[in-house]
């Protein structure tokens, strides 16, 4: 009698354990256990991670013509989290420059961008409707009402922006917070506010009158962030006499961010018509303005791809995506 009872209990337990292990749905990004040794896009650790393929949707008002197929992967260890995104982009865009015509400067150029949105506190319906509901809400509304804010004043989202020209050269993605209110006078005009910053971050390279660049690469130092990118630490006051018509100077002064805004390490590599972007963050940053990744949680998120734009035009994942842990 006793033996049979123990046997029965075992059977029930095993059946329960088997029932719990099921495969990932198409909109589920299943994070695998593992740690890449570097942010290199071809690190061997990614071979073991499952791939979620999501095609972004064109949103009304966007100049983008068609969605982009993004392949996403995730890895996690006891303390850290990595993501890898791969998507096709016919042009590598990170060309925000001042161009000199011999007498005056004109600014131009755009960049590619990848944006992720997570919840810090509950965003109404984000879990079931995704970005469509949370930030582009409601779709039937006219465009001018589509202001990117959280659906309520009690809610905040965690926004990561990997930007080809301004954050990638310093090995970071911008860690921002999406809010439903404007907390200080200094952030008026955007509901994306930077996470707490101690120092660093990119600033405009322009003179007080805004008519041209203020800084240029120190001629005695090589451009360590790559040609076409100007680090604040390697910049000196501009000497216009050294420039001739057709010359270009980067529009941004770059510096790695220290503080909660700099929580995300990033490395994006453009090769054979594709961006491969690897992001890294601690599971728990200890900061109030970040999502905490807790293995076991089902974490909804949204994703947007910006192709050669400076602002609005992008394609987004319409349906909610879910990060799960293997």
């Amino acid at each position: 009698m006793w033996k049979r009872l123990v046997g029965l209990i075992l059977v029930v337990l095993i059946a329960g354990a088997c029932g719990a292990a099921n495969a990932a749905a198409p909109n589920e990004l299943l994070a695998a256990k593992g740690a890449p040794s570097s942010l290199a896009p071809d690190d061997g650790a990614w071979r073991d991670a499952g791939v979620m393929t999501v095609t972004t949707a064109v949103i009304a008002g966007s100049a983008a013509k068609q969605g982009v197929e993004v392949q996403a992967q995730a890895l996690y260890s006891g303390t850290d989290m990595w993501f890898r995104f791969v998507w096709a982009d016919p042009t590598q865009s990170a060309d925000r420059f001042w161009t000199y015509d011999g007498t005056k400067w004109t600014s131009g150029g755009n960049e590619d961008r990848l944006s992720l949105l997570w919840e810090i506190s509950p965003l109404d319906r984000f879990q079931t409707r995704g970005c469509t509901a949370a930030c582009h809400n409601p779709v039937s509304d006219p465009l001018e009402k589509w202001y990117m804010v959280t659906p309520s004043f009690d809610a905040r989202g965690d926004n990561w922006q990997w930007i080809a020209g301004r954050t990638n050269p310093v090995g970071q993605a911008d860690d921002k917070t999406l809010v439903g209110f404007l907390p200080t006078a200094t952030s008026l005009g955007s509901s994306f506010v930077n996470d707490a910053t101690e120092k660093g971050g990119s600033t405009n390279n322009r003179t007080a009158d805004g008519l041209g660049p203020a800084k240029m690469q120190d001629p005695s130092k090589p451009a360590s962030a790559g040609s076409g990118f100007l680090l604040a630490s390697e910049a000196v006051n501009i000497d216009v006499s050294k420039f001739k018509a057709g010359d270009k100077v980067p529009r941004d002064l770059l510096a790695p961010t220290v503080g909660s805004r700099g929580d995300i390490d990033a490395k994006g590599v453009y090769a054979s018509g594709k961006w491969t972007v690897v992001l890294h963050r601690h599971l728990d940053t200890g900061n109030d303005d970040d999502i905490q990744f807790v293995p076991g949680r089902t974490i909804p998120f949204g994703l947007a791809v910006f192709d050669n734009v400076s602002g609005f035009s992008h394609t987004v994942s319409g349906d909610p995506l879910y990060l799960k842990f293997k």
Binding site: I120, S121, D154, A155, R156, V179, F181, P183, T184, T186, A196, D288
Partner: protein, 175 residues
């Protein structure tokens, strides 16, 4: 009608009784081990769960107090700060009252920020320009302009807050 039974130790030989005594002893030990183990398996993690984060230190929080230019020398400005914070599982607006002024010359810092919470029982103190005193309405505690206790029940001076100025010229205080 009740279930009729004999006494458990009734009508047994001496050997049987000793045997029974040993089995009783094993049962007693077994019962207590199992009971204590069950209680510990559930009780110890549960106690940690119940404590939760209640003993953790409060994270410091810098709040904007206002533009540096707007502060008048020698005069306290009362500032009601509010900021969003995640209180356990909810986003809440935390609010509070502080007093700031440009510090008198010779001080360690350029600004002086005092918590508006009376150190006696937590009422909010009021600044009086006329008397240059902080007065607590609850139990008549009085502090001077540096926050030191002059009279009344408060056991400690008003809490001094750290300050810093951002690149944009906004004064921030560490709550």
């Amino acid at each position: 009608m009740t279930h009729q039974v004999g006494e458990p130790n009734e009508a047994r030989g001496p050997n049987e009784a000793r045997d029974l005594g040993r089995r009783d002893f094993i049962s007693t030990i077994g019962f207590w081990i199992a009971t204590v183990a069950s209680a510990a398996i559930l009780g110890i993690p549960s106690a940690r769960f119940a404590v939760g984060k209640s003993l953790e230190k409060v994270v410091e929080h810098w709040v904007p107090v206002g533009a540096v230019d707007a502060l008048k020398p020698g005069e306290f400005t009362s500032v009601v700060y509010s900021f969003r914070v995640k209180d356990a599982w909810r986003e809440v607006k935390k609010e509070g009252l502080i007093y700031v002024r440009p510090a008198p010359p010779g001080g360690a810092s350029d600004f002086q920020a005092l918590s508006g919470v009376c150190t006696h029982l937590g009422c909010n103190v009021r600044w009086s320009k006329e008397t240059s005193r902080f007065a607590c309405p609850c139990h008549s505690g009085v502090y001077d302009s540096d926050g030191a206790v002059i009279s009344g029940p408060p056991p400690r001076p008003l809490r001094q807050l750290e300050t810093r100025v951002t690149e944009d010229g906004v004064l921030e205080a560490n709550i």
